[in-house]
């Protein structure tokens, strides 16, 4: 097995001096530099690469590039393992490991092939019919079984170790595909001064010029391609990208391209990404994506060794590889004759079967002149050979071409088929182009464009070289002229190519006499002619329904070789012309894209930005357990010794009630508000009155949405006549800023006010507890900390060790408390200083859990109560609502439903046993023994362990709450299957008069 299927010439693009070893299904083979996995396997005589999706039929290579439906393999192993990779797209690299998929125990002997014998039980839509009952069997038995039996490769379970990057590009003209028209347009656009990106999927530029015998100017096509690339390379306004597939075309000319950066390199350097995803915003996109050859449906047309004629030619010309040594060429057109000539050049005489009655094409004549006879008016009826084709049954067609007159068996080791060409219109269609059917080529071509996209060359249905070049140079110049003022056109050189006669409109052979072999249309999804017939017979008419019922064109290859043949067959049965049948929708991605490439570098810690307070390092050093609050990392609690969370939280909260605690509140949103209309603006934004707030005082405020629901709350202070400092909750900081900007810019542009986020400019430190006054007096000896000197809701500017500080007397814990604000950079220093001086006052830090405990006990509302479904009345904030002035959302509060007195309102709950904690989210019901559905009175929003009373306490929002106080109800949590008898109490569980904060 050593490359016995190589040609003897060396005119291709592989380097026979450089051997590359690889493993396929455990056997070691070698190929050469420049090979693909496909060409190297074929050169070693290996055609059997996998088993088909549904029937587990042996399958080999059909194509040579992205169109390949069969040859999917599992690459590598361990954490680099990758399923469903198209072998024709894998460049050979030393040590490459590949194996077949969807077969067990081996690709040669696959148990699943029983499905092929039983295929009459698996027609189109078989799972809709067969597995409908008993209903309960679907999830447990049928679905897992089908999933296991049908299938592709296996996704690795380990994290992907490779690096992927994203890149953003802008250009005037993006050219997709580097065949003759693509090269011509890129050259013309670049010479005219436009910024050009030329993208080519393959490792070599040139497209069809690499395989077609043509001349351009005084050069061969291949030479002209390489000359053009050299010119483009030397131009600073051109980016050339090979191994790069533009797979998606989105709105506003945003295209996305995947570049295989290092898959083909044996030992890439550490920081070289494996693949790179380019987002390219192009001024104009030129779609020069060429065309894909169509297969022909005939009996057992899926055996290994049956390939597209163009693929056979490319294997010979580019990869110096023979798909077989006893070939049959089967065609309905002239282009396949170039494949025949290539075999003849390699001293192999093909048998030629042509469905047409005759052809006078140049290539046909050339073949005939070489003494090869052509079987015209003939077709292939059936094939034989289990794991590889060994013979074909060739039939003479009758005049209607609906049946065979006579049949003969001919030995062969490959069939090279050609059913003509399909323009690759995927990108144009993705861009919103309304395709039209071109009857001359029997295929859809781009027509009415919606975006700045222009298809040229074969992708536009222009199949001759002359046309392609002319379109390329013209379009390249025209489009680039929109961006430059150079007006410098490039003329199209003369070109020479053979002339072709027309193809025959015949893509499906009749059945051989007395037999019904499967004639496949869609190889990847195992859809045969009989499945399409069945779908039509069962009444499916819309092509979109036929597609879904049969799964035609729905595989990973998106029907690149099958869609049009399927359409053509439907139109034949329905006796409609193809444009009436229509076509299915093309969607991105054009080729499969690795998830890793889509994710890029946004993995692990890079998934989201992390926001840390300036005091973060202290928290870390002091054993804090962190919790995410949006993007912020906040200390949740600080366990001491072997403490668990509950004991740590209880200790921290109790210490605030007894001594003094310190909490990092830097994450609170802060907004600076300035301008002569600032008081008026606040008056409109908040539900309470703001015009008369004195300078040097803070006030608690509640803001609503226009629908009357509480939006956010916080403390805002007046720093001078026209200068305010607003605080918001951590969670709503960004939304509140957008909200304020909306009203200032859109609704009341006449108000002279400016708002600016200062969240990151201030570091906030809450100091709370009965000893906080003594501590602060010691820290700020210049400030009169007495109740008269700095009363509740007062503020004062001072300094600590020369650092400017602003001290607010505000409280979230319900205790006597202060909040010290310093410039962010001094946050850590100030915190440490407070901790140091606080030692003699038994200071302890407290985290977000203790913070919650303290506010829940006090009945202070937070996010769990302000959940977008509560108006001020519901959460005990009605006293905050001014009756005198209008404000955002006020009109909603007078709507009928919002004025009902028995609305769900805030209460406190204590379990009767004083022990069982009530899970947050529990439902509140009246009668525990009632039969479902039980009327729900409300829900538990926040729960804590009350450190004041040493029992559980919860806040709940329940129907007619105020009148339920003193009653016994049940808190039930069906998720935890518990039901807790509770007593309804006031939500102000501790210090309901609020005397501590004012003490």
């Amino acid at each position: 097995m050593s490359n016995s299927f190589r040609t003897t010439n060396s005119t291709g693009l592989i380097n026979k001096d450089k051997k590359i070893n690889f493993t396929f299904n455990g056997t070691i083979y070698h190929g050469y530099e420049g090979d693909t996995l496909a060409s190297a396997l074929i050169a070693n005589g290996v055609h059997l690469v996998g088993r088909s999706f549904k029937y587990h039929r042996p399958r080999g290579f059909l194509g040579v590039g992205v169109e390949e439906p069969n040859a999917m393999v599992q690459l590598h192993d361990g954490n680099k393992s990758e399923p469903n990779i198209i072998a024709t797209e894998v460049e050979l690299v030393e040590g490459l490991k590949a194996k077949s998929q969807n077969c067990w125990p081996s690709v040669q002997f696959d148990i699943g092939e029983i499905n092929n014998v039983l295929n009459r039980f698996f027609p189109a839509g078989f799972y809709y019919k067969t597995f409908m009952w008993p209903k309960s069997f679907w999830m447990k038995i049928y679905e897992p079984f089908i999933r296991k039996a049908a299938g592709m490769g296996k996704a690795p379970l380990l994290p992907d170790p490779d690096r992927y990057e994203h890149n953003y590009e802008h250009c005037d003209v993006l050219v997709v595909g580097s065949g003759p028209s693509g090269l011509a347009s890129a050259l013309a656009a670049a010479k005219n001064g436009a910024r050009v990106i030329l993208a080519e999927d393959k490792p070599n530029f040139g497209g069809s010029l690499l395989t077609d015998e043509v001349t351009i100017g005084n050069m061969s096509g291949k030479e002209w391609a390489s000359d053009t690339i050299s010119q483009l390379k030397s131009m600073p306004n051109v980016i050339l990208k090979k191994r790069s597939q533009v797979f998606g075309y989105y709105d506003h000319n945003m295209t996305v391209m995947i570049e295989r950066v290092s898959d083909h390199i044996e030992n890439p350097s550490k920081y070289t990404p494996r693949q790179r995803l380019h987002y390219i915003r192009a001024g104009e996109v030129i779609v020069s994506t060429g065309s894909i050859e169509r297969p022909i449906s005939f009996g057992n047309n899926d055996r290994p060794g049956i390939v597209l004629a163009s693929a056979a030619k490319e294997y010979m010309k580019v990869y110096e590889t023979l798909v077989g040594k006893k070939p049959i060429i089967f065609t309905n057109n002239d282009t396949a004759y170039s494949t025949a000539l290539e075999f003849i050049k390699n001293d192999i005489e093909p048998i030629i079967v042509d469905t047409r009655d005759s052809s006078n094409g140049e290539l046909v004549k050339e073949v005939q002149q070489k003494g090869i006879s052509i079987k015209f008016n003939s077709g292939i009826a059936d094939t034989k050979g289990h794991l590889k084709i060994n013979s074909a049954i060739i039939g003479k067609l009758d005049s209607s071409k609906e049946s065979f007159i006579s049949e003969e068996t001919v030995e062969c080791d490959c069939i090279c088929m050609s059913g003509g060409w399909t323009p690759t219109v995927h990108l144009s269609s993705q861009a919103g182009n309304k395709l039209k059917f071109n009857d001359d080529i029997d295929a859809f071509v781009p027509d009415k464009k919606r975006q700045k996209e222009t298809a040229i060359g074969a992708a536009n249905g222009s199949f001759t070289l002359n046309q392609s070049l002319a379109e390329g140079f013209q379009v390249g110049f025209d489009l680039s002229n929109k961006f430059t003022d150079q007006n410098n056109p490039t003329n199209s050189p003369n070109s020479n190519e053979p002339s072709y006669e027309k193809h025959e409109k015949l893509w499906c052979m009749p059945l051989p006499s007395g037999k019904k072999p499967k004639r496949f249309i869609d190889f990847q999804n195992d859809v045969a002619v009989s499945d399409v017939e069945l779908a039509i017979r069962e009444g499916f008419r819309s092509i979109e329904h036929v597609k879904r019922y049969t799964t035609l064109g729905m595989a990973g290859d998106q029907g690149k070789t099958s869609n049009l043949n399927g359409l053509q067959y439907v139109s034949k049965i329905e006796k409609k012309i193809v444009p009436e049948v229509g076509h299915t929708t093309f969607r991105p991605p054009y080729t499969p894209v690795t998830i890793g490439a889509i994710v890029g570098r946004e993995v692990g810690n890079h998934y989201l930005p992390t926001r840390k307070s300036p005091i973060h390092t202290w928290h870390e050093e002091n054993n804090a357990v962190f919790v995410a609050a949006g993007l912020w990392q906040r200390p949740r609690y600080y366990p001491m010794g072997s403490e668990d969370m509950n004991s740590a939280v209880n200790r921290e909260a109790a210490n605030v009630r007894k001594n003094v605690g310190i909490c990092d509140v830097t994450t609170l949103g802060k907004i600076d508000i300035k301008g002569p209309d600032a008081p008026e603006f606040l008056n409109r934004v908040y539900t309470n009155a703001w015009l008369k707030l004195p300078v040097g005082k803070a006030r608690y405020g509640v803001m609503l949405r226009e629908d009357g629901m509480v939006f956010d709350d916080g403390t805002t202070s007046r720093l001078s006549e026209n200068h305010f400092h607003m605080t918001t909750t951590t969670a709503q900081a960004a939304n509140v800023l957008s909200h304020l900007e909306y009203y200032l810019q859109v609704v009341w542009p006449d108000l002279d006010v400016n708002v600016l986020s200062t969240t990151e400019q201030w570091s906030g430190i809450a100091v709370a507890g009965p000893k906080s006054r003594d501590l602060l007096s010691k820290l700020f000896p210049d400030v009169d900390m007495s109740n008269e000197g700095l009363p509740f809701m007062g503020l004062v500017d001072s300094s600590i060790d020369g650092i400017k500080a602003r001290i607010y007397r505000i409280s979230f814990s319900g205790e006597l408390a202060y909040e010290v604000n310093v410039e962010s950079n001094y946050g850590l220093y100030t915190w440490k200083k407070i901790m140091e001086v606080g030692q003699s006052f038994d200071i302890q830090p407290y985290g977000t859990e203790a913070l919650s405990t303290l506010r829940i006990e006090m009945g202070h509302v937070a996010g769990a109560e302000l959940d977008g479904r509560t108006i001020p009345f519901d959460v005990g904030l009605n006293s905050m609502v001014s009756q005198k002035k209008d404000f955002i959302g006020k009109r909603s509060l007078s709507k009928d439903a919002f004025t009902e007195s028995d609305r769900q309102t805030i209460v406190g709950l204590v379990p009767l046993d004083k022990k069982t904690k009530i899970p947050e989210g529990s439902h509140i019901i009246e009668d525990n023994s009632a039969v479902a559905p039980i009327p729900k009175l409300g829900h538990v929003s926040s729960s804590c362990w009350s450190v004041e009373y040493n029992n559980p306490f919860s806040i709940a929002i329940i129907k007619d709450g105020k009148n339920k106080i003193g009653k016994n109800l049940y808190a039930v949590s069906p998720l935890k299957d518990i039901s807790i008898p509770v007593e309804v109490v006031s939500s102000h569980y501790v210090d309901p008069e609020g005397s501590r904060v004012r003490s």
Binding site: H252, Y279, P749, R891, S892
Partner: protein, 90 residues
């Protein structure tokens, strides 16, 4: 991904912006006597046209200005953008 021309900053990618709804909605005057029906129309009800639509966008990861965009809801074509105190040219 759309490309939106901020009237202050120029063309930027959609991910710098957030959408702000129908630009033709006028908030009732403060203190205005208004029926529940009219108020509900302001708060809740929006047309959902296929085709040309005037809408608000906020350059939230940029200059933080709200501005107007005239966009086709079916094709995403953007006809014009302008500042809040301007009118569309197209």
């Amino acid at each position: 991904m759309l490309e939106i021309k901020c009237p202050y900053c120029g063309k930027r990618s959609q991910n710098e912006f957030s959408y702000g709804g129908d630009a033709t909605i006028k908030r009732p005057q403060l203190g205005e006597e208004i029926s529940t029906e009219d108020w509900d129309n302001f708060v809740y009800y929006r047309d959902n046209p296929r085709g040309k639509h005037s809408e608000l966008w906020h350059h939230v990861s940029g200059c933080r200005q709200w501005f107007k965009v005239s966009r086709d809801t079916a094709t995403h074509e953007i006809f014009d953008t302008c500042k809040m105190n301007e009118d569309f040219n197209v």
